[in-house]
Amino acid sequence: VRYLLDECLSGIVAQAMTVLAPSAEFIHLLDVAAMSTADPDIPAICKKGSFDVLVSINVKDFGARKHIYESVISAGIHVLVLRRQPRQPTDLWWQASLLSRHYPKYSKVFRNASEATLASMSDSGVRELTFAEIMLEIAAQESGRPPLP
């Protein structure tokens, strides 16, 4: 499985994951495209590089961001979104920790998926979600209500 890490993830994490999960390939976007790549070019870059999964981070405004993920999924590529707990810095260590710790879980999700899918990953684990589910979950978090079961 080939994972493409969006520019919002550290290039150092891609190098670390190559060692930590040698059965997969983790490539950073800056290794295959220029800085500040436009959103409409991302699906084509994934296709051209035979990437199976786009890895991204979402900290704010998922409602706007989801359209990028939808376009990638509609091109047949899985999306893995890292999500943080409140006040959690999204630094190098957090990114590397999440990707390495949950590797068995998300790799299984994508291996078993019959079609391109969206998976959300946080400290508590990996979940395969629909866009509607993740939007409701974020709305619940922002309003202070407990997360949906």
Partner: protein
């Protein structure tokens, strides 16, 4: 793939909105500063002051989404209301003139103050017009309006709004969310490195450790754009 049929033409909705920028109302308020509130944005959109329909109208689990053009329009109307003090009942006609000439005809317009206090708009082809302003005494510096409208026009042509020296909202990058210039790293992501409302050298160093291709100045600009204060 979700497609929307428009007559005989089938349009891939994703590709259109991706290059046009996509903004939630809260994001518009974050970009335009503390004077802009969700209530104002919704009012201007709902009453038709801002042109076009939102990308989506808000509902359960669905936020109201606006385009890059609508962000620029809201920014211009905000300037007319808050800085030039155009009354609400007059802003519609004044803004309609700017919309038609600046956004549609893409003319570089210069505003000057007339002898009677009115605002005169000059276009390069000599089509001077007195903008219906609703009042004859203009309290603000009209040059600021020229600068504001030119900024909006240039941002419209470039599809990119400069927010700070190293922070931009590029309609084609991360759906137009504010990012560090020349990257796909959003300022909100950089702000998570600071534990509270302040940041110091240690926070900047942590960001640079994670993203070595950024400059120190760019990181500081991103943190300050997110409202964080620098401490020694």
């Amino acid at each position: 793939v979700t497609c929307a049929a428009k007559g005989a033409e089938v349009v891939d909705r994703h590709l259109i909105v991706l290059s046009d920028g996509i903004y939630t109302v809260s994001q518009v308020c974050r970009i335009l500063g503390p004077k802009m509130t969700p209530r104002r944005v919704h009012y201007w959109v709902d009453t038709g002051l801002i042109s076009g329909e939102p990308i989506t109208r808000g509902g359960k689990g669905t936020p109201t989404l606006l385009s890059f053009r609508q962000l620029l329009e809201i920014k211009t109307v905000q300037h007319l209301r808050d800085e030039i003090k155009v009354p609400l009942h007059s802003v519609r006609t004044a803004y309609a003139w700017i919309l038609d000439n600046v956004f549609e005809r893409e003319l570089p317009v210069t505003f000057t103050r007339g002898v009677g206090g009115e605002i005169i708009a000059e276009t390069p082809d000599g089509e001077n017009a007195v903008i219906p302003w609703g009042q004859r005494a203009i309290p603000a510096n009209v040059n600021e309006l020229t600068d504001e409208v030119r900024t909006a026009r240039q941002a419209w042509l470039d599809k990119r709004l400069q927010l700070k020296a190293n922070v931009v909202a590029d309609a084609r990058v991360l759906a137009g969310t504010p990012t560090v210039i020349g990257t796909r790293i959003e300022t909100a992501l950089v702000a998570t490195f600071a534990p509270g409302d302040e940041f110091d050298e240690e926070v900047v160093a942590s960001v640079l450790q994670t993203y070595p291709h950024l400059t120190q100045e760019a990181v500081i600009d991103a943190l300050e754009f997110e409202g964080l204060h620098r401490i020694a």
